[in-house]
């Protein structure tokens, strides 16, 4: 058996399991069958994450194609019809088939382990949620070969990821592209709501003894807030899809402007979903940071109660900012002022979180392993993303910046610079727990530096065409606009990021077979998942753990200075 990096001095009864994992000796078919019928949260979590990584590659290729077309002005590499499908699918895929699954996958894997539970509250619902989400993705991508088939441009959605009405009404989108979009998102939404219900039931009803709500790891808190938000915000999206389908197939008039319907109503309903959705995507990134930064700074998280309050605060405030996507639609000046204020208010709890991370690092002993490199980049990048968000919240300036490349730069700064970077950090951090092997550190550093350079080349520079008047979702641009050089730099950065991701994929596969054995606790961490074997046995814990503080393993390793003395 492997030697852990820091030997755990004593084993508390029931918390640590000494049995070596059962090796599965079966045929390929038996292994596949085992995974298909599993209700084990760990396997389901891994399936979510793998599914998301595959779609990340697909959506990344779509992005590279977009960047190739925009490399030259008046380029004829890709027709407008294909281009419209590419950017619609890139956005839809990244949000619903990459972002949601990978974050819910990590939640699925980690939450029961972190709270000392045997599995999620409803394992079969868990499996159902995964499979309906998987089906949704396959249905969405089937659209490429449905319709006209491979000879035409297919009927993949081409109405932008937010599908504004009335462009999506039958009159303006007679094909089936919109229908694939609506149906796939309804299915995926059902899966997300199922997982949210599961997470809430698990967190509230299955914590081990001693783990009060204020002793849960912050990751679990953040996923609780995320799940609450999912419940409230996915339903508006489902309502949108239902209304759109009623219009398209039953002759309804929800968004039929000829019959008195309203285009702005779609925008309201969609963004009531859409804005909290991006907080649903970013809160798990905060969750990972809350676990990783303390471990690599060798200090407890600074201000745990404030972090809880800030997370809940962000959840609530984010429900009230949606119309900052609609500043240009002709709301009254009072409406614009209100949403400017509410959007700016989000900055306060978010700022508190950044300061708390800074204070966690302050006075620590920072170790720059690969997870920490990505986490540090996250801190800088999320700070910048938040500040460009403040710029966008300023309603009059928004009237210039809205729907320009400045907005694309801002939200990619959050989605890639904050969320994807923290996903990478989480992968390096928890891969050893999931597979029993360490990812290669040298390859990890190559991945990090390539990603950093590529990311900044693309998304720092991308702000500039926005300031110079370049709108988004255009398949080409005039040569005399002065945007070409900036587009070229952005595209080159995209290529570099692609190479970085290729390094990661190689690392993931190679280390699975040849990686250094990890042992239960390679990072010398403090939460309950590190007290199990790597990978954990199917039942997680041989008997239910009992905890007395927020960092049960710290208490074990430092009996002279346990956290429980301070709580």
């Amino acid at each position: 058996m492997a030697t852990p990096s820091v030997p755990i001095p004593n084993r508390v009864e029931g918390v640590v399991d000494q049995t070596p994992p059962r090796t599965f000796a079966g045929t390929y078919l038996e292994v596949i069958h085992d995974w298909v019928v599993t209700v084990d949260h760990k396997k389901i979590g891994i399936m979510y994450i793998s599914y998301a990584l595959i779609f990340m590659l697909v959506a990344g290729i779509e992005a590279l194609m977009i960047r190739a077309q925009l490399f030259f002005p008046e380029n004829h590499l890709i027709s407008p019809f294909v281009f419209d499908r590419l950017f619609t699918m890139h956005g839809t895929t990244m949000v619903f088939l990459v972002g949601m699954p990978i974050l819910l996958g990590f939640g699925n894997y980690l939450i029961p382990l972190m709270i000392g539970a045997r599995d999620m509250a409803f394992p079969r619902l868990n499996a159902f949620s995964f499979w309906i989400s998987a089906f949704a993705g396959l249905m969405l991508y089937f659209s490429f070969i449905g319709g006209n088939g491979l000879t035409g441009t297919g009927t993949a959605p081409d109405v932008a990821w937010f599908a504004y009405a009335p462009l999506t009404e039958r009159a303006f989108s007679p094909g089936h592209s919109t229908d694939y979009w609506a149906l796939a998102l309804i299915a995926s939404g059902i899966g997300s709501i199922g997982t949210a219900i599961n997470i809430l039931a698990t967190v509230f009803s299955m914590r081990c003894k001693g783990m009060t709500l204020f002793r849960m790891p912050l990751l679990v808190w953040l996923y609780t807030v995320v799940s609450g938000m999912v419940l409230i915000t996915i339903s508006p999206l489902t309502a949108c899809q239902a209304m759109l389908t009623i219009d398209r197939y039953l002759g309804g008039h929800f968004f039929d402007t000829q019959a008195g319907g309203s285009a702005i109503l779609w925008a309201h309903f969609f963004w009531i979903f859409g804005h909290p959705e991006v907080y649903i995507l970013v809160l798990p990134a905060f969750a990972f940071a809350n676990e990783i930064i303390p471990v690599f700074s060798r200090k407890a998280i600074f201000g745990y109660p404030a972090m809880v309050a800030a997370s809940v605060g962000i959840g609530f405030i984010s429900l009230g900012v949606w119309a900052h996507h609609m500043f240009t639609m002709g709301m009254t000046s009072f409406g614009n002022a209100f949403f400017t204020l509410s959007t700016m208010l989000v900055a306060i709890p978010t700022g508190i979180k950044i300061f708390n991370w800074l204070a966690t690092i302050w006075g620590g002993r920072v170790r720059f392993a690969t997870p920490m490199l990505f986490a540090v980049a996250f801190l800088f990048q999320f700070l910048i993303a938040g500040l460009t968000g403040i710029m966008l919240s300023v309603s009059p300036w928004n009237w210039q910046l809205h729907n320009s490349y400045f907005v694309i730069a801002h939200f990619h700064y959050v989605l890639v610079g904050a969320i994807v970077f923290m996903i990478f950090s989480a992968i390096y951090y928890w891969y050893p727990k999931m597979t029993g092997r360490m990812l290669d550190e040298r390859l990890g550093k190559w991945h990090f530096w390539l990603m950093l350079i590529g990311f900044h080349l693309t998304f720092d520079v991308m702000h500039i065409p926005g300031l110079l008047g370049m709108p988004r979702q255009i398949y080409t641009y005039e040569a005399d606009r002065g945007w070409a050089i900036w587009n070229q730099i952005v595209s080159v950065g995209g290529l570099i990021q692609a190479i970085a991701v290729a390094v990661l994929v190689y690392n993931l596969v190679h280390s699975y077979f040849k990686g250094r054995e990890a042992g239960p606790d390679p990072w010398d961490a403090w939460t309950l998942e590190w007290s199990t074997h790597s990978p954990p046995p199917a039942y997680n814990f041989a008997s239910d753990p009992v905890v007395a503080s927020r960092r049960p393993l710290w208490d074990l390793k430092h009996p002279e200075d346990p956290d429980s003395a301070f709580e």
């Binding site: 001095p9 004593n10 508390v12 009864e13 509250a121 409803f122 709501i193 949210a196 219900i197 599961n198 809430l200 039931a201 698990t202 509230f204 009803s205 299955m206 914590r207 003894k209 001693g210 799940s227 609450g228 419940l231 409230i232 915000t233 996915i234 339903s235 508006p236 489902t238 309502a239 949108c240 239902a242 209304m243 009623i246 219009d247 039953l250 002759g251 309804g252 008039h253 929800f254 019959a259 008195g260 319907g261 309203s262 109503l265 309903f269 009531i272 009992v546 905890v547 007395a548 503080s549 049960p552 208490d555 074990l556 009996p559 346990p562 429980s564 709580e567």
Partner: protein, 198 residues
């Protein structure tokens, strides 16, 4: 070095957490409330904006009888919940069946109302904004009632075949919570559609 953690648990046996069934059903109710809210908002927003076709005042009649049945079914299902908690399976089966019957009366009433609207008043989902929002909202509620009735019916079958006993009380109460939610939504829908909207 022993079981350090246990020192701080005053009453380890008093570690009581909410039941996962209740948490799950409450979460589902929150999600469903959100979708109903959106359809209600759409209904209210489009009031008076029709360019043609029948208006609510012209064609809607208050569904008093159906409403009374549905809302009183909440009382009867509460009686059923109480009965199973104290172990009276016979009483439980009776009140549970009454609840189902009342729900069925409501649904049939809705069907009759829609038949009148479609054949007599020529109001369909495609007629105008009122038609679209009315059938969507009331239909969304009716579909939730039907799903509830199916679940109640399955439970009744279990009860009649002797498979249900007081150890299942909590699960039954979780299901009843759903039924109470459906009734509460009807209060909102009724007010918005038949009172405010007319």
């Amino acid at each position: 070095m022993g079981t350090v953690p246990l020192e701080h648990i005053e009453h380890p046996e008093a570690w009581k957490l909410p039941s996962r069934g209740y948490v799950a059903m409450s979460s589902l109710i929150i999600a469903e409330s959100a979708i109903f809210t959106i359809f209600v908002v759409a209904y209210l927003y489009y009031l008076g904006r029709d360019v043609s076709g029948p208006t609510p005042r012209e064609v809607l009649e208050l569904p008093i009888f159906g409403t009374v049945c549905l809302l009183s079914s909440s009382f009867f299902i509460y009686l059923a919940e109480h009965a199973i908690t104290v172990g009276k399976m016979g009483a439980f089966t009776l009140w549970w069946a009454v609840t189902i019957v009342l729900g069925l009366i409501f649904i049939i009433g809705t069907g009759v109302e829609w038949d009148k609207l479609i054949t007599h008043d020529h109001l369909t989902i495609a007629t105008n904004l009122f038609g679209t929002t009315f059938y969507s909202l009331v239909g969304l509620h009716a579909s939730h009632v039907i799903i509830g009735l199916i679940m109640l019916l399955i439970t009744l079958v279990f009860a009649l075949t002797g498979r249900l006993n007081p150890t299942h009380a909590e699960r039954v109460k979780v299901l009843a919570l759903y039924w109470h939610f459906v009734d509460a939504v009807w209060v909102v829908v009724f007010t918005v559609v038949y009172i405010v909207g007319r």
